[in-house]
Symmetry: C2
Subunit: 520 residues, 2 copies
């Protein structure tokens, strides 16, 4: 059987491959039948050329075409939902329902439609007109965008269907998608729908392209190529940091989502009041989807007390009673074991788990680790090793002072949560911890686990390094997510007829503009 | 005579110095009398601690205090204008009038007052409320900011008085200013005024701090320190890239302005129509301030013609007839000579200059170099070596095709200009070159030299690497410049009384908010 074709310059063609690989079904630990090519630089070179041509062929009036494409694409995804769900289920082990069919798929099409609306209104471009100086500015497209999607959301964060894809396209940029190696077949089905939709919408060839895999060095070459505008990467920290280093050196914007332990603080009074309910809430959040969420609560901060001990006992009981979920791949299983080794070697005590799981396919026993605040502070960097999966580290601080030191020693995170009593008994502690936690996190929560990430204009799915590469940008939430794939364009004394439409005096479209200090 | 004191934690104190240095008067090439300390890490450590304390002591209601500080500071600068102008004149050789007293000083105080207004209205924070999900977001302060100012604008870009300073403070961040080594005395006078104003406004100690110089390695330590929020750097490319590498590795935002040749394209018909006037306009723009502007037109692109030759002859004549201006320092003189050597070695022909100047103090003869498009394209990177000063490289392309290739081979620039005939005769050429140039530049101009940088909300003083480190941000223009020193804060289910005021339901202040999709 010959290997799958790549999508380059508007056609499905044989890859100039250096090898092939197969995906696995993580529920059976068996390889799936199709071979996928590992692309050589030649594939990338042609994709970059096609993307550059597509970029130059597009002009601002294309916003309507782009919106039509995104909407048509969403419809085609819905029409092909069964095949997508089936393939993704085989490649990721994620349940067909409700997870893939009823949660992730509608989220994905909803995102594409929100992105279409954002492209059409154009408000993300923030046009500003200074009449006195005849200087005008707006955000414009940045150029071809390379998207590396993660393993854990084959639809909603997929490299050719997810948030980065939708944002980059809506901002007017061609996308070269690099499929996540764990779900190439799902990516291919999406690319087929995207290509059909692009044709129907009249987008230039090269606007949506797909390759499956490259060597690390060719990946680095892609993100640093002069033709590349920017890169979006969601995935493992180690591989992401290599791309970051290369992109930074070349001065190319790269938006990364790398790792996050998502600390959850349970203050004493609320733990006293409803420890049992919190144990259930935490267990459910931490074990859902085998804990394979970017915002999984991987670290709990408690203050030493009898209530804390009761809470911990309850969580151990529940972790032990739950079947361990199927992990996305052999490498996720391996990494989880490795993280446990690093954490226990650094002094974390095993409360339950770390061994083989009792579930299906790749899986690890539901794991709880425990460490004192004192021990945590001895080597905070190691203690923040992300254990991606059904695992969490409980840090028990001696008192509020030590808890504050633990928070202050945190790296950047996507989220940080504090639970406190409604009685006011925890308020003084909240007021000490919240400002410190605020600066470490993109999204601060109260009384709520961090796992859900609403597609809201007020969402920040971002945060300080190493959660992401820059604390000013979000990967979820429209239109803010589009800004990552824009560049600021100022026009100084440019003749009226040469301006983009949204900067012309006689513009009468839908975009809100700041004209001489007033929004219109 | 003992060395000058540093400003740390609200007091002028002896530096823990590893050495001292003196500034020079570039008009006389003589050292000035005062010794300034080279700070050890100990000074930086104390400054970072004080800045961190100041940052935590500030809360959002401080916007009013910050605005009061910025306005009081502007007033004190005006009151102390004579001393500032005198000191800056001695340290930089820039004319007292109109340059320092009548142009740069009002620009500086104007910027500080615009920043005060931006802090007060708070619109830069872009508050968004999603009532249905109870998620709210806004930009918040990023943390202590390190500012490295350039040599060429001792007031308007000065590390403790200029655009980065004003933007970082207005966004609520303490600033640790590293004086440019060529004007430490000017920086000290500013810091005295800033400290007086900070005291009067009731800002916490450590909000404004000044050191004069550090080793490169200590500079790198400063920008990567966990307590540091972000860095602003304007200056030489080589030193800036070292800081960038360190900051990137640590995941700390750094905003750089590194170098720009600011290409100016003169199309054939307009050159035919008014070559003589353009020769004057270009000469005046290029030699003004001895060419020491970030947006100096360092590269001209012409298409081979008789009109181009006449234009070049006229420019040579004017460059030769003008006295060469005083350069800011011995090192600027040295760098300019070095750049000329690199360019001529790579094949540029000397039309005039490159030798010793006929001016006062440090100076180099007004220089024009020439190269064919073909030769330029042979090694575009070397041909884009910035020659910071009274110098420009004329690229003569064989035809419009070759001109397009030259533009396509450009690195990122702050500005790009195209002059074209009003008759329409150049329009086809414009339409080919403009889209290519647009993606290479932060600000695109028509029929106008790039030297002036208006402080306008529609300005983009930024551009793709290596002009800056990220094409989405501007260093000039308020409120956009503040965004560099903000981070995105999302609040998910946070209890109403714990929200920042601008995100509360009952907020009735001046900030415009996007509530459930509608600006209010």
């Amino acid at each position: 059987m010959s290997s799958a074709k790549v999508l380059i310059a508007g056609e499905w063609r044989d890859s100039d491959a250096t090898g092939t690989y197969r995906a696995e079904n993580p529920s059976t630990c068996q390889a799936l039948p199709c071979d996928y090519p590992v692309s050589s630089w030649s594939d990338c070179e042609e994709a970059l050329n096609a993307a550059t041509s597509a970029f130059l062929a597009l002009r601002s009036p294309s916003a309507e075409k782009i919106a039509n494409f995104l909407e048509r694409y969403a419809t085609l995804i819905e029409e092909r939902a069964d095949a997508l769900v089936e393939m993704a289920h085989q490649e990721t082990g994620l349940p067909k329902s409700p997870r893939l069919a009823d949660v992730e798929l509608p989220r994905t099409t909803g995102q594409l439609r929100q992105a279409a609306a954002a492209a059409r209104t154009g408000n993300w471009r923030q046009p500003i007109i200074d009449s006195a100086n005849n200087i005008r500015s707006c955000y414009g497209s940045i150029g071809p965008v390379i998207v590396f999607g993660p393993n854990n959301f084959p639809f909603a964060f997929g490299s050719i269907s997810g948030g980065d894809f939708a944002a980059a396209i809506a901002a007017g940029n061609p996308v070269i998608a690099k499929a996540n190696s764990s779900h190439p077949g799902t990516s291919k089905l999406f690319a087929e729908a995207a290509q059909d939709a692009a044709g129907a919408a009249g987008l230039p060839d090269g606007m949506v392209q797909l390759i499956y895999r490259t060597s690390h060095s060719i990946g680095e070459q892609l993100v640093t190529d002069p033709r590349t505008g920017a890169t979006g990467y969601t995935g493992a920290r180690k591989a992401g940091l290599k791309l970051k280093k290369a992109a930074d050196k070349a001065g190319k914007p790269i938006y990364l989502e790398l790792s996050s332990v998502n600390p959850v603080v349970l203050l004493p009074a609320v733990l006293e009041e409803k420890g049992a309910a919190l144990a259930e809430e935490f267990t459910s959040s931490c074990l859902m989807g085998a804990g394979q969420f970017c915002t999984n609560p991987g670290m709990l901060v408690l203050i030493k007390s009898d209530a804390a001990e009761s809470f911990i006992s309850a969580v151990i009981e529940q972790f032990s009673a739950n079947t361990s979920g199927t992990l996305l791949s052999a490498s996720v299983e391996k990494s989880l074991h490795e993280s446990h080794k690093i954490l226990t070697k650094a002094g974390a005590e095993v409360l339950c788990g770390t061994g083989e799981g009792n579930g299906t396919g790749y899986n690890v026993a539901n794991t709880l680790l425990r460490v004192t605040g004192f021990r945590f502070l001895h080597d905070p960097e190691t203690m923040q090793t992300e254990a991606f999966g059904n695992s969490s580290l409980i840090v028990v601080a001696e008192n509020i002072n030590e808890a504050e030191k633990v928070i202050a020693a945190l790296e950047g995170n996507l989220t940080g949560c504090i639970y406190s009593s409604e009685s006011g008994a925890d308020d003084a502690s909240y007021d000490r911890l919240a400002p410190v936690l605020r600066q470490k996190t993109g999204r601060l929560l109260n009384d709520k686990m961090p796992t859900g990430v609403a597609v809201s204009p007020a969402m920040n799915h971002g945060g300080p390094y190493p959660a992401t590469g820059h604390p000013g940008f979000t990967a979820v939430g429209i239109p803010a997510a589009l800004l990552r794939f824009g560049m600021l364009h100022s026009f100084d004394n440019v003749r009226a007829h040469r301006l983009p439409d949204i900067l012309k005096d006689d513009y009468d479209g839908p975009t809100q503009r700041l004209i001489d200090g007033v929004w219109k």
